[in-house]
Each structure stands twice: as C-alpha cells, then as structure tokens.
C-alpha cells in the first residue's frame, strides 16, 4: 500500500478545504468582490509558508523520503499562455465557485450538480489537448 499516504494527504486536503469553506461558491464570490480577507488569508498564509519551505529545501538541498534530491522545475517562459489561459480559468472559477481541487471535494459534500462542472472540465481539458498546437503559447 505505497499509495495510502497520498490518500491520507488528499483526505487532509479535503477536510481543510471544507472546514475553511474554501470549497464554497459564496467564499469565491466574496473574494472576487474584495469583501473579506478570508480567502486572501488562506492563500497568503500558504504562499508565505510555502515560499519559506521552498527556500529552505533548496538551501539545504533536502531530499525526498527515498533519498532523491527534491527538484523544482521552472515554469516555461511565456506571457500569452499564462495571461490568456489564466483569464479563461478565472472566468470559470468565479462562475462555478470551485477550482479543480474543490470541485472534487464537493462530490464528498454530496453536491451532485458538481458532476456537470467536472464533465465540463474534462471536455475543456480534452479540447485544449486537441487544439493546443494552434494556440499562442
């Protein structure tokens, strides 16, 4: 059962996203309307701690549990792909109130309607794969 640790990490993710209400459409609306600090606090805390952790991992050249070096792959340099792709993502994020992680957490919460959004997300991913060579990157 090498995989169990990933399930446990996922459970922790699902619980914390639910308990901090980050899976709620209402919270995402509140964020895009800049009417509460809540979502900014979540993302901000994660980024500050994540930046410190990433810095320390690089500085001390830490290794993973199998002894392999932890490597960070730099993102490919581009502007159009991030700004266009990001904007399309944001349009959907504010509409469904769920980014990909929370979409699946919502299944556990018995919001079955989210399956429609997941079907949409899979179709969107498929279309991107099919036409990616014709898009500006």
């Amino acid at each position: 059962m090498k995989g169990i640790k990933f399930i446990i990490a996922g459970i922790l993710f699902g619980i914390v996203m639910s308990k901090s209400e980050a899976i709620s459409w209402f919270r995402i609306q509140e964020m895009f309307r800049f009417q509460d600090f809540h979502m900014y606090g979540i993302i901000g805390t994660a980024v500050v701690l994540g930046t410190i952790a990433t810095f320390l991992i690089k500085k001390f050249k830490l290794r993973d549990y199998q002894g392999n070096p932890i490597v960070f792959t730099p993102k490919e340099k581009s502007i159009p792909r991030y700004i266009i792709g990001g904007t399309i993502f944001g349009l959907g994020w504010a509409l469904t109130g769920a980014c990909p992680g929370p979409m699946f957490v919502n299944i556990g919460y018995s919001y079955w309607a989210i399956f429609i959004a997941i079907a949409g997300a899979l179709s969107g991913t498929y279309l991107y794969g099919a036409i990616k060579d014709r898009l500006p990157h």
């Binding site: 914390v16 209400e21 509409l95 949409g120 997300a121 498929y126």
Partner: protein
C-alpha cells in the same frame, strides 16, 4: 474538542495545512498540482489514441488520482462528521450584493440557485456549471496549472509565470463577477 472542530476553521489553519500538504508531497517526491488529474483522467479514458497530448504513461500519475480520491473522502468526512450544519459565514456586503442578483443568503455551503439539482437541470443552471467547468479545464491546461500549481506551488517557488497566471485568474474572475453574473442572473 469536537465542538471546536465542527466550527468553521479560521483562514490561517487552512493556509498552514495547505503549505504543509505542499511540502509533504515534495517529500514524497511529487509536486502539488491538482488540475493535472483532469489530463490524467482523459488519458486513462483513452484520449491518447486520438490526441497526442494525452498519449503518455498516465499510470505514473496514479499517486495524484489517489490524492483526488482522498479529497473526495475528506469532503465526505467533513460533511458527515465535522460539520456544524451552519451556513457559510460570508460578509454582509457579499450577501447584499448577491441578493441583488437574486441569489439568496447562504443556507449551506453552496447556493441553491446553482447547486440544487432542480436548478442544475434547468437549461441556464446546466450551462453555468458545464461552461464554467469547461473554462476551468481548458484554462488550467492552457495556463499549465490551477490554483494549487500556480498560486501555491509556483509562487512559492518565485515563478514569474505563475504570478502572471494568477493575475489572469483574477482578470477572468472579475469579468465573471462584475460583467457576466449580472447578465446571467
């Protein structure tokens, strides 16, 4: 103790745990990025036969699918055992703005006007979820990541592309919030 857990958790707990999960996955030799699962699922369903983008060894991504399964279980555990049943505690200003759009104040985690099955199976409700999901799937792959891959992992690694992607997330989110939603509702 259980009473305390059943209350909504403050933002910093969530931020700390998300950073912890990111680091945990790094120590497992992986990287935190949820939307890759969408590509993996397409590939597992055989999309690689027609489209090269999906022709890769999706089994190498099984770990992330297990993380996804865990996320569903985590949602279930929260709803069944850790919930106070209280509606989401959003600000009064948001409640008022949404009421003007015809969305009633929260009585749970999600608005009835979008997530109840009766709303989801009207043409409007169905299209909101389907097209919203479509934009998320298309945009996440186009931008090479979603909130976890860019906003958390990418910015933590001081990646300029991730910052640009997050700016894009907000451009899109603001357009939906202030232009599309008033047109739709």
């Amino acid at each position: 103790m259980l009473e305390l857990i059943r209350q909504p958790w403050p933002w910093y707990t969530s931020g700390i745990v998300i950073a912890f999960i990111m680091v945990l996955l790094l120590f497992f030799g992986k990287s935190f990025g949820f939307s890759s699962n969408l590509r993996t699922i397409c590939s597992a369903c055989g999309a690689g036969k027609n489209v090269k983008f999906f022709d890769f060894d999706w089994r190498s991504q099984t770990w992330n699918l297990l993380f996804l399964v865990g996320a569903v279980i985590g949602g279930f555990i929260s709803a069944e055992f850790l919930s106070s049943g209280e509606p989401v505690q959003i600000s009064q200003a948001t409640i008022q703005d949404l009421q003007q759009l015809g969305i009633s104040s929260p009585d749970g985690m999600q608005p009835q006007e979008i997530f109840s099955l009766s709303a989801a199976f009207t043409l409007k409700g169905f299209l909101i979820l389907l097209l919203g999901g479509f934009a998320i799937g298309f945009g996440a792959r186009y931008a090479g990541g979603c909130t976890s891959g860019h906003a958390i992992s990418g910015i933590s690694n001081l990646q300029l592309p991730s910052l640009i992607a997050v700016i894009g997330f907000f451009i899109g989110g603001l357009i939906t919030t202030f232009v599309l939603l008033p047109l739709i509702f």
